[in-house]
Amino acid sequence: MPLWKLSFAFVAFVCYLAASCEAQKTKDMLLSEKVQQLVDWTSRRSVIRLNGDKFRRYIKSPPRNYSVVVMFTALEPQRQCVVCRHASEEMQILANSWRYSGSFSSRLFFAMVDFDEGPDVFQQLNMNSAPTFMHFPPKGKPRRADTFDLQRNGIMAEQLAKWITDRTEVVLRVFRPPNYSGAVALMLLMTLVGGLLFLRRNNLDFLYNKTGWGIALLCIVFAMTSGQMWNHIRGPPYAHKNPQTGQVAYIHGSSQAQFVAETHIVILLNAAITLGMILLHDAASGMGDASKRKIEVRLTLHDKVQ
């Protein structure tokens, strides 16, 4: 009897050993598979798109030897998240610079979860704002510092890179693709102007057209006095819609800022008053017939009252 018992125990032990060996093996398999899968995805797309299931399998569940930086965001147009789009662009730049850098390895992956593809993830992490950047370390759970502080650091890729280096000790160099659009636009404009001049080289009198130059300069003056340069440098919204009441405000409350709509109103008013003054003078100095002049005078007075 004891022998039978012993042999049973032995068999059980062997079985257990084998099983645990198998488990270890599957775990190894799983890990290498996971890494392989992630590398595959990364080669296709530098920021991996995850839904709830994938997120849990590749990022939440334990066997991991890699860091993942995940951006939680809401890119669907109906969400109207402008910041998300900026953040996503920066993330893309960062991920690309990592993927195409010489030191690329499977130590670090970039991923994103869109709210509309994995709302359960947001619930699980108790997250109620987007975009959020989180770092998931190879071992253990993310701590407080593993959430990127957007308020303080902004969304520039350089700041993100600094934070990632802080968390993972992977050194990242951000490489921004140079923006050629300005240079190209300038070249196009130059060729256009040059071409026009070349085509009309026999008759360049139009360059000496006083009225044309005058109108162009007046346009510049109106653009500047109405603050178009401010718009160009600061990029304000066209108008502001109050999300609660749905009312649209066209005029900014502070004198330090302005909306684009506001400047358009101002440019029209300025131009109207100036035109009124010019017509007022022309009317008096005797051009056109009497009735027309009278109308002009009345019109300009009307302009000014406004």
Binding site: G214, I233, K294
Partner: protein
């Protein structure tokens, strides 16, 4: 009797008398409208930079020009010092010193401070007169008078030239307009006399303001425009050649400018146009003695030669690294938003912000609408001088849109062109009015003027409307001057609940305390904003001042302010600090105090290597807020700046129904109340607690050190 005398004058004489009267009234007005702050407070220098100018002027009058030129200032930037003679534009100081000496020669014993205070209003009176002459060249005397009255009260110019605002811009606008006026005269007459006069005016401009670069690019642009429109003549040739040669040589005499006029890229346009002038003149001379075919050949070969030589030169310079196209600097020329977005120092200064439409209206009011009318007039009647004013108007318009402080350059041309515009419209209707009255008086009423019905009524309506506009402009300008641009910021004022005015004169109180109660060679540490004022008024050595040329030194001060006492003491001993001065607004509600500026100290302090122990995040609460109450970060509640500002503040009741130690700026009860200072002694606190001064102990309070070479401390103790 007076009426009879008036009647006896001929029409020309009456005309002259009226012009003189209006012009002199405008000049007086432009002086007196800038005196709001003198009447409200007293004859006092304003703000920060003027104090430096005032101090250097005082030095110049006392020590003479050569000592001034070689002046090495050991009172600032201790222990580095600063070479002053070679790093400033001396025009302003020399002007006031000149006025001072002339007045003293005439036995008018005016104090140098008063010369400085009233210099800017005086020069704006000169500007008014000059504007009249400039506008007269463009249209007629009537337009000149309108423009003169406008420039007398235009807020965009007043903002930099109220009494007490003793800064370069105050006289630079006058110099600029003087240069323009003489340039227009030189182009009109083509005489060497006016051209030489123009060079002298340009020299005065260079010696007084860095903005002269605008001039030396605008004038060549004018010459270029004249060439393009076929208006280039011998007159322009003489004027420009003289101005460029004389002006460049003269401008190089200013030590701060040095060799820039022949080296830096900002001046190269002037050189290029000068060369072009010579080539153009040489070609026209050659053409007069050659056949047309030969001249054509000459021109073509010359063009090709120039093109090839130019591209080779650019290639060589680019390869050798003398010039580098396609860098940030190049882009910032093309696109104004580049600097704003990519260079944080430019982005942080409020004067460098772009201009909103509302600040145009605030600073210029209805000139915004009349400027284009004047521009239109100039375009429909082109002449050499009108082309110049068009160029000036449009370029300065562009620059003022990029940077709000350049409104100052725009304001005079706004007045000139608006004056032209207003007088343009007014003359056509005024003559109708005159005609109507003359007709009705001489002829019977049965034959009214039939050119259009209701002529008289329409004309009077238009004139009334324009007068209404002019009046609102006057009211607006006076209101803006009085409310926005006439506070000296060294003396503060507030309204008490019963409507009376309360004056806070704490700054001067503190500076005079320093002057009379500290040793001559005491070193005072404060944040850099107050550096100029301390050296000028307290006459003590300071560590950093508003001329922020050494970032690491400022950073060291920032580190001392944001470190805990122990660490701060080390830094202060290293810098040999005797006194520390902080500005604290918590009692009165003065919001631009040192606690509100504190984050900049932390940032600047942490930005260098020695400040590696300072991290901005440590000064925020875990939720990322900057708070001084109980929830504030412990690092903040224990740093030197906090302790100096709030020392003993916890015992003070500031508002009814609030606990003691309630900060009225941050609207919070302070979090760290009952603490003692270990290394500092409160030396002086002003009446409203705006300025607090602390004495740094020579020795730390450690029992062992009492006897170890801390002589003065031991004596202090004995006395106590």
């Amino acid at each position: 009797m007076a009426r009879l005398g008036m009647l006896r004058l001929s029409h020309e004489k009456q005309d002259t008398l009226l012009k003189l009267l209006i012009l002199s009234m405008a000049a007086v007005l432009s002086f007196s409208t800038r005196l709001f702050s003198v009447l409200r407070f007293e004859s006092v220098i304003h703000e920060f930079d003027p104090y430096f100018n005032y101090r250097t002027t005082r030095f110049l009058t006392e020590e003479g020009f050569y000592k001034f030129h070689n002046w090495f200032d050991d009172r600032a930037w201790y222990p580095l010092g600063r070479i002053i003679g070679g790093t400033i534009y001396p025009g302003l100081m020399v002007t006031s010193a000149l006025f001072y000496h002339i007045l003293h020669f005439l036995h008018v014993t005016i104090e140098i401070r008063n010369v400085c205070v009233f210099l800017a209003p005086l020069f704006s009176s000169f500007t008014t007169i000059l504007t009249y002459h400039l506008t007269k060249e463009l249209k007629d005397a009537g337009a000149g008078l309108v423009a003169a009255v406008m420039v007398a009260i235009v807020p965009g110019y007043i903002s930099r030239s109220v009494a007490g605002s003793y800064d370069n811009e105050g006289i630079a606008i006058f110099c600029m307009l003087l240069t323009y006026y003489t340039w227009i005269q030189a182009v009109r007459t083509g005489s060497l006399y006016w051209s030489a006069f123009c060079s002298l005016a340009y020299f005065y401009m260079v010696s007084s303001w860095g903005g002269y670069v605008f001039l030396i690019n605008l004038i060549p642009l004018h010459v270029l425009a004249l060439m393009a429109t076929g208006r280039f003549s011998h007159r322009v040739y003489v004027a420009y050649s003289t101005l460029y040669c004389l002006g460049t040589v003269l401008s190089m005499q200013v030590a701060f400018v040095g060799f820039q006029p022949v080296q830096s890229s900002e001046h190269m346009a002037a050189l290029g146009v000068f060369a072009l002038c010579q080539a153009f003149a040489a070609y026209s001379w050659l053409r007069s003695s050659l056949t047309p075919a030969l001249a054509e050949l000459l021109l073509r070969s010359f063009m090709w030669l120039l093109l090839i030589a130019g591209s080779i030169a650019v290639a060589i310079l680019a390869l050798s690294g003398k010039i580098s196209p396609w860098t940030g600097r190049f882009y910032s020329l093309l696109d104004p938003s580049y600097a704003k977005n990519n260079i944080p120092i430019i982005a942080s200064v409020s004067e460098h912000q772009p201009t909103t439409w509302s600040s145009y209206y605030f600073d210029l009011q209805f000139l915004v609408f009349m400027f284009p009318v004047g521009l239109h007039y100039c375009f429909s009647n082109l002449s050499d001088s009108r082309i110049f004013i068009i160029l000036y108007g449009v370029t300065s318009m562009y620059f003022s849109a990029v940077m709000v402080r350049l409104m100052l350059v725009l304001a005079p041309v706004m007045c000139v062109l608006s004056g032209v515009g207003v007088s343009h419209v007014l003359t056509s209707y005024m003559s109708n009015l005159e005609l109507g009255r003359a007709l009705s008086r001489t002829r019977s009423r049965r034959h009214p003027d039939h050119s259009y019905p209701g002529k008289q009524e329409v004309s009077s309506a238009v004139v009334l409307f324009l007068s209404f506009f002019l009046m609102t402009y006057t009211f607006h300008s006076t209101w803006v001057t009085s409310e926005a641009y006439s506070s000296p910021s060294i003396v503060l004022s507030a309204r008490s609940p019963d409507g009376s005015r309360i004056i806070f004169d704490d700054f001067r109180e503190a500076y005079y305390w320093l002057r009379h109660n500290t040793p001559q060679d005491a070193k005072v540490m404060s944040w850099w904003d107050y550096g100029y004022q301390i050296t000028a008024m307290a006459n003590r050595t300071i560590l950093v001042d508003n001329n922020t040329w050494n970032n690491t030194h400022i950073s060291r001060v920032g580190q001392a302010m944001s470190s805990p006492e122990e660490k701060a003491y080390e830094i202060m001993r290293e810098l040999d600090v005797g006194y520390v001065l902080v500005i604290f607004g918590g009692l009165t509600g003065y919001s631009s105090d040192d606690i509100n500026k504190f984050l900049w100290m932390v940032r600047i302090g942490g930005s260098t290597e020695t400040g590696s122990h300072i991290h901005e995040n440590d000064y925020y609460t875990p939720t990322g807020e900057f708070r001084v109450d109980r929830d504030g970060s412990p690092t903040l509640l224990n740093c030197l700046m906090y302790k100096m500002c709030y020392y003993r503040f916890g015992q003070v009741y500031t508002e009814a129904k609030r606990p003691p130690g309630y900060d009225r700026v941050r609207n919070a009860e302070i979090g760290n109340k009952d603490f003692e200072l270990d290394v500092l002694d409160e030396a002086y606190t002003t009446e409203h607690w705006l300025v607090r001064i602390y004495k740094v102990w020579r020795c730390k309070m450690m029992p062992i050190m009492y006897t170890l070479g801390c002589g003065d401390y031991v004596i202090d103790l004995m006395v106590v």
